[in-house]
Amino acid sequence: MKLLHKLTIKSLKLNKKRTIVTIIGIVLATALITSIATLVSSAYKSYCEYVRETDGNYHVKFNDVPTEEIKNIENKDSIENLFLTQKIGYSIYSKDNEQANIYFQILGFSENAMQELGIKLVEGRMPESENEIVISQNNLDIKENANFEIGKEVELNITNEEEADNNSETTTKNYKIVGIIDVTDENIEKDYMEENNITYSTIITTLSENTETYDVYVRYKNVINFIEETADILGVSQEEFNQLQGKTLEETSENLFFNKSNKYTYTINSLLTIMESGGFGYSVFFMIYAIATIVMIVIIISSVFCIRNSFSISITEKIKEYGMLSSIGATKKQIRQMVFYEAFILGIIAIPIGILLGTGLIYLFLKIGENLLSEYLYGIKFIFSINIWMIILSVVLSIITIYFSASKSAKKASQISPIEAIRNNENIDITNKTVKSSKIIKRMFGVGGDIAYKNLKRNKKRYRTTVISIVVSVSIFIGMSSFVNYVSKIQNSYYNDYQYNVLIRPSNYEEAKKAEDIIRRLGEKRYIVERVAYAYCINGEEHYSKDLKDIINDKEFNINPDSSIDIYSLGNEGYNDFIKELGLKYEDVKDKAILIDYKTGFVTLDGNEHYKLYRMYDYEEGDTLEIINVTQNDETLNIEIAEVTDKRLMNIVEYGDNFTSYIIVSDEMMDNLLYRDARCAVYINSDNDRELEEKLKNDYDFAYVGNIAETEREEKAKSLTITIFLYSFIVIFALIGITNIFNTITTSMELRQREFANLKAIGMTNKEFNHMIALESLFYILKSLVISIPIGIILSYIVYQVICTNIEMNYIFPIKEILIVIIILCILIGGIMKYSLNKTNKQNIIETIRKENI
């Protein structure tokens, strides 16, 4: 080894503390980049896996493929996996209670299909022969409603007709129930379907040999070629295909579905396909990718800054040593080599540790998060995934950063003249400018303040490093917090915030009245007894709002609203609650209607799409609606509008994306409007939803009792997962910032030990000294806040602009973030200064002075 290399290593060993601080700086920066990269790829993998589990692990399903053609598809190179299902038939099952029926679809599944499709075994086992079945509990309370038990034999009348009724031609077959499943794939079984008191459910058995067609599920090796491969299987040419191709995968699917030249109809497992292909060509995902890119760039800049900082501090501290070497004849080139060699050594130690730390932390984070939150996650699994390219990227970035930091320091080290390096014991540019306001400062804060202030003014460079590192951290923190806030807000707005949990669907209004009695006796106060009459508006088109007209004119949407307007009543209690909330009096409104015609959706404005809340009609308070009551033999009604509102009591009426509006009327009025039964339901917002549900199911005999809270909890779990990932971004950002600030300030304090010892030798008391440092911290904080808060606000506004281009949302001034930042900054800087002070105050003055003098 060359002598100079030996010297470098020796000096690294001698200055252990400094070396360790530098290594920690690089380790943390590398760790942060890798952890973000790992976090992103883990989140992505976790979500893909979740989609695979719930929606099924396939890209496309071809319907009714003739048996002899399956081989053709199976033999294609592009196919990774293929499995079959089969429509065996439909069956109407009457349970003991004559009124309620269950409408089953019976499907045959290959063994693969049972594993790969979105079904979960809840109890028992999967069928192993054609005589064994499992039943879906998705829409059906199997035990309560149908008395289906594992081990029980059932006789089913099976028909081939989809629109089966009691007169259809049937064959009878006996099955043994071996298990109960949960169907999560909505392509197999839609969530909650109940019409005319018929419950729709699914029965699955094994594949039988004697059918002519199968449904073929296909998973491609490379989802990027999805459209090509699918076109190939369908027998559609490229040209035809391009014509049929829509803007989104859903549109493509629809176009192809109605095209006569394709061999089969088919269904795309769209979410999985989109996720696995990286989500390109899907506007929401495009936005997320755009933002993720910005986030990555920001992280990189701040980590680069972090590394640069700790590295350049290490080198400047050694300027004296380099000066000495050059005084004994080391050439500039040799000194530069030494600096690079040092950079090399530091990098080779720190980068691998950083990568291990970054990925390790995310691994732990995911494992701990999954364990702690398993109760709320409803089967969402956190999958740890390392993206090798991201790791390589972080290594390259670290190396580049170290290289540039080193070359800058090397230049500095090699340019300085030997005697200057030795004599000029503080390597800082100090300007002797007269500090004007010094007198005021002195009067206000004493000598300590005076010296602190002069330090700020004259020793610009030292301050600049510290202030910049605070400014970078603080403004990025403010910007990123806003980012996370907006994203989680948008994300939460996708989920309907139900304000009721237990739902009863009585068979008729009488039963609904009975239900009301029962729940009142059980002590429930917040509930709605809903009745609905279907109707539509005469001359509705003439009253379309401008927004709605825009949407209708937009070719892309191709919609045609039919002016349907549903009439709701809420029961006396519910109605009174509702008008109270609106500030109306019962007597004034009991013969009038309250109109809810708000919708959310994309509206084109100045050529740009905006996601916003808009009204369908231009009716106002006092106008009279002319409507035809479909439920009541097309009777014509004239109802005056008492109020137009976007409030929805307990959120039972959703804004939705259909084009129906609602009017809410009093119970009295509904009694007059309806001579016969309409659809009714009882919604309860109970504090003990589970108990209430149990009681209603066990003690009474309602057609359907459900607990929305369960479904909602599952939705919340998804939203929670995303929120966790988003907030861990923030934590990582805060960590980058804190590390950066900590590094800069401790190092700066370390470098000034001798200056401090001198002040003390002259006779500064510890109290005065602490006072001085406290003021200095205050100046740091003030100065950095003055710069960083405006930058932070601008950043948060840019973030707002980027995220909310398509979505109507108000700008939220980041006051909360600013306060958090101020508090954290005070605690952090105060803490660091106090820590350094304690150390300084304990040190022997003369030893410090001597040590620094060599």
Binding site: E426, V447, D450, G763, I849
Partner: protein
């Protein structure tokens, strides 16, 4: 009048086998207005002794009286205030505060006491120091000799009981050295300033009123 009195002063470093007795049971006194030189070979304990007199270190045992006050009976902060008023320290490396200019460095001890400097006195001092034209310069804009003169100015500014100088010329060429010694001598005469100075240079030592020779931590 005794201004400095050192009684059985001992300073040990390290423990057991590594124990070094840097100052070994030293006693002596210095009268007001005396100019004392301490000489001795390198590592003999001169600096340690001086630091103990100046109150920037603490002895293992023994006492130091300055102006009749037992300085090690004082608490840390009291000692600091005592130091700022009664002791002027000068080192081989000038140890100025890099961000303060010449005047600010010199007046720092007064500032710490919130005492307003009389302009005449400061001007006179700057003239004596030969720094009239360097008032606004920062330490890194000065030569070694000039920096040392600022340090001397700083130690003189509050008329301390004693000035302690540790090889003040050790880092300077012979011309600059001569100037510094002349300056010290002058203040000794002019202000009747007590000075204790460590030096290697016998020529310089001879200019003092009295020479104390130290060997292995003991006065010989």
């Amino acid at each position: 009048m005794e201004i400095v009195k050192v009684e059985n002063l001992v300073k040990k470093y390290g423990k057991d086998e590594n124990e070094v007795i840097a100052v070994n049971n030293v006693s002596f006194t210095v009268e007001k207005g005396e100019f004392v030189a301490i000489v001795g070979s390198s590592g003999s304990g001169k600096s340690t002794l001086l630091h103990l007199i100046g109150g920037v270190d603490r002895p293992t045992s023994g006492k130091v009286f300055i102006n009749g006050k037992d300085i090690y009976s004082l608490k840390d902060d009291e000692l600091a205030i005592f130091r700022r008023r009664e002791v002027g320290l000068i080192y081989q490396f000038y140890n100025l505060i890099p961000i303060l200019n010449v005047v600010e460095n010199i007046t720092l001890p007064l500032e710490l006491d919130k005492i307003q400097i009389e302009k005449d006195k400061l001007d006179e001092l700057l003239k004596v120091l030969g720094l009239e034209n360097r008032k606004d310069h920062l330490p890194n804009q000065l030569s070694g000799g000039q920096q040392q003169r600022v340090a001397i100015g700083r130690s003189l500014i509050c008329n301390p009981s004693v000035i302690l100088a540790d090889e003040p010329t050790g880092n300077l060429d012979s011309n600059a050295s001569e100037e510094i010694i002349k300056l010290l001598k002058e203040s000794n005469k002019k202000y009747n300033q007590t000075i204790i100075m460590i030096t290697h240079n016998l020529e310089i030592a001879k200019m003092a009123d009295r020479i104390i020779k130290i060997e292995d931590g003991k006065i010989v």
